[in-house]
Amino acid sequence: MRIWHLAQRLSVALLMAISGSLFLWGCSDGSMPAEPDGESVMYSQTSRIRGLDPAVAGEVSSSLAIARIYEGLLEYDYLARPYKVVPLLAAEMPDISADGLVFTFKIRKGIYFHDAPCFPGGKGRELEAQDFAYSIKRVMDVKNVSSGGWAFNNRIVGINAFHEASKLPEPTDYDMELEGLKAIDKYTLQITLTEPYPQLLYILAMHYSFAVPREAVEYYGKEIVNHPVGTGPYELVAWRRNSRIEFARSPKWAETGREEIYPTQGTPEQEEAGLLRDAGQPIPFVDRVVQFVVDDSTTAWMMFLSGQLSFSAISRDNWDAIITGDKQLNDALSKRGIDLISSPTLDVYYMGFNCDDPVVGMSNDPEQDKRNRKLRQALSCAFDFDLMNKFLNYRVYPLGGPVPEPLAGSLQEPSAYRYNLEKAKRLLVEAGYPEGIDSQTDRRLELTIELGSATANTRQTMELMADMFQKVGIVLKAKYNTWPAFIEKMNRRQAQLFQLGWVADYPDAENFLQLFYSKNESPGPNHANYRNARFDNLYEQIRTMLDSPERTVLYEEMAHIVVEDCPWIFMYQPMAFGLTHSWVENYLSHDFPYGMGKYRRVNEDVQRQWFESYGDKKLGMSGQE
């Protein structure tokens, strides 16, 4: 090829590239992808969803997605507070035997699985009681590497024999008869427990218990994480793992004549807030749900402001620009119909001490043990909740003990080891570190805390904590790990201090108290490796007690033991704050919002109007004009 030719071609290519970009420049409008007409679509954001198999999924984002497609015997009532479970696929609440060990469930008739190639003729078949027994067995099958084994382990008669049998290399035998988990007839399921299990009903509302058809598992094998087949209101349409997931209304409900309705009962406040407008209407309202996996919070915020996302969290950095002094939304945002939602959560955030550690932990030598305990108590007294609250934009509640409000077992009176610098200094002297000086090194005592993330927020929080400790003369060094590296350190008991949170699995204080049970030591959730014989004793008692005033008394005693021994510094209980656009209706937050997308509505008229008025007028990133 002659060089002149080459040069000419290069210039032409260049011109085309430039004009092409100009053309695109003129054409693109940066708006959302066009919606199919007449359909109601909800766009929102999600964290990465790792898999859609109910037996295997361990994290919240996956469970939420699973709950759109699969359903269980029970679900949480959308509007009822305090939280209550009500029947979903069960016809009514179960019959419970007198000794509390036998639960008999009647399954609703006429519930069908979605159409899928795993069924003969591709048509989904009717749900049977057998499906629940099968699904629970899948969780206990060692080959599935489920994260939900703890929910059923040793609780159902015969399930552990099944678990042991599944360890053999041959394919697991799901036809194995279990005494404690059987389908008495096509529509009746009977669960027999080994001991009373007060939280069973909550467990049955969790995704581990959702009904999975055997045909799908046998047809898809491991691929079932990508090909969910459930009974729920939505089916999976498209899934690009790292970026986008799309659900569409399942035609099966209409086809089989299944109708579920929006709750009809609520409190007067809820009615006033418009949450009962759709009472008795058939759900789900939204035809299509599209969720994007946006990692970067700034990007997600930009997308929310331009109307691409319907919900948004409020980052700490944006807070005081968006929220005015009296916790209201600023004018620019409220003018655009954006709503502020706030609700308490059942989460606790704490700094834990590793009781294995010679400096801060528990010891066989009673003198050393007492001194270490005083050190822990001193540090607890050095934690300035008000300062932390200020840093967190006054969005958190103080924690008096290991159980958050409003669960039974939360301590009403403030902790004996809340912020008190004088007390902290006094305790430090008793612990053997006057002014924080370690007599062995003649320098200030240095403690190391492990963290599971390295985001700006985490870093700044730790710098704040270091500042608090510095006031009593202790140096706090923070080590930032990636989450997996952190989990490994936790499991190998290699931390001295660490920061973690715990999100409730169900609304019962036992879920928090188990974090101090010695048998749950690392790699279990008791990462403080705390051990107290009296506490263990009480725990074993309450494990089988149903909710009662006696149980609450024991809960409180256990909480007191923990506060006194101080294996944790109780940091705070956060409130959840979020923003929704005006076209989102029926939104009420819930600590266990599995499957609750079906109650929400997108008001297309409002949405269209919003885009017409505000589509082009971009707000500054701070939510101001």
Partner: protein, 293 residues
């Protein structure tokens, strides 16, 4: 006998002085170096005395103040003075640049010399080694190294960047040694019976020093830039104020009109990288014995 080395240096210095841009860059580099040294002194002083330095003191009431009399570059989200943290950032940048070079340069030079000088099996081995490392996909490899280093922190950054930059230097050094090996002065030294080690280090090495210096000057800003990206992603520096961390913290606030932290850090980073890059270019032109306009 006039030693070839000396006149090369004075020649180079003359040429460099003529280039005004290069002199400005040199001045900038010197300024940054002084800041880095100052930062290190401040750090050690506080560490030795076991007190918390001023740039770590938190005061939420002073958060997000615009540049003014008390704080020339304003304050950040926790009320700390941006300018002081910026200076500490220079220190961290220099640490990264220097330590990664301390890792990369000895390895690269040693292997390059051995390969070029001895040839044969040694050469084959070194070529195999650097081909293997050179094949690794850049940033991904650096991040992967940093990921697997158990102590998440600066060590991962140093190793990651250091273990990937020695390759280029090794290749260059090997090429230069090969060229010099055939030259008469080396043949003469061999004929005189001087040991290989002596020939390598006392005779050849000074003649390829310019390659090393230019490489160092050009890799330094690349290392700093990579560290900024790594810190931003959360892999790297902890506890001390690195520029990557400051950018991360300042990003969201920028658009609310709190421009100072982001702007000053970006500016400082830009100036440092630009100065080193231009200086490196100028040095390369000045030291290259071939260029005689």
């Amino acid at each position: 006998m006039i030693k070839q080395g000396q006149s090369l240096w004075s020649d180079a210095w003359r040429r460099l002085k003529k280039d005004r841009i290069a002199m400005v860059c040199l001045g900038l580099v010197v300024l940054f170096t002084l800041l880095a040294v100052y930062g290190e002194v401040v750090y050690f002083y506080h560490h030795a005395k076991d007190i918390t330095p001023a740039y770590q003191k938190i005061n939420l009431d002073l958060a997000y103040q615009a540049p003014g009399a008390a704080h020339w570059m304003g304050t950040d989200g926790l009320g700390r003075d941006v300018m002081q943290r910026l200076v500490q950032g220079v220190r961290i940048a220099y640490k990264v640049g220097i330590i990664t070079s301390l890792i990369a340069i000895p390895i690269g030079v040693l292997l390059g010399c051995l390969a070029g000088f001895y040839g044969g099996k040694v050469d084959d081995f070194v070529v195999w080694l650097y081909s293997t490392f050179a094949s690794m996909p850049g940033l991904l490899f650096i991040l992967a190294i940093a990921m697997v280093v158990p102590e998440n922190g600066l060590l991962g950054v140093y190793l990651g960047i250091g273990l990937t930059t020695w390759v280029g230097l090794c290749r260059l050094v090997r090429g230069e040694v090969l060229k010099h090996k055939e030259q008469t002065y080396v043949q003469a030294a061999k004929a005189l019976g001087l040991g290989s080690g002596r020939i390598m280090f006392k005779h050849i090495l000074p003649n390829i020093l310019h390659v090393i210096i230019v490489t160092f000057t050009l890799r330094f800003p690349a290392a700093v830039g990579t560290e900024v990206i790594m810190s931003y992603l959360g892999i790297g520096v902890q506890g001390e104020p690195s520029w990557g961390l400051m950018i991360d913290s300042a990003r969201m606030r920028l658009w609310q009109g709190m421009w100072w932290e982001m702007t000053f850090v970006t500016l400082a980073l830009f100036l440092l990288v630009l100065a080193f890059n231009l200086l490196g270019d100028a040095l390369r032109d000045a030291l290259d014995p071939r260029l005689d306009d």
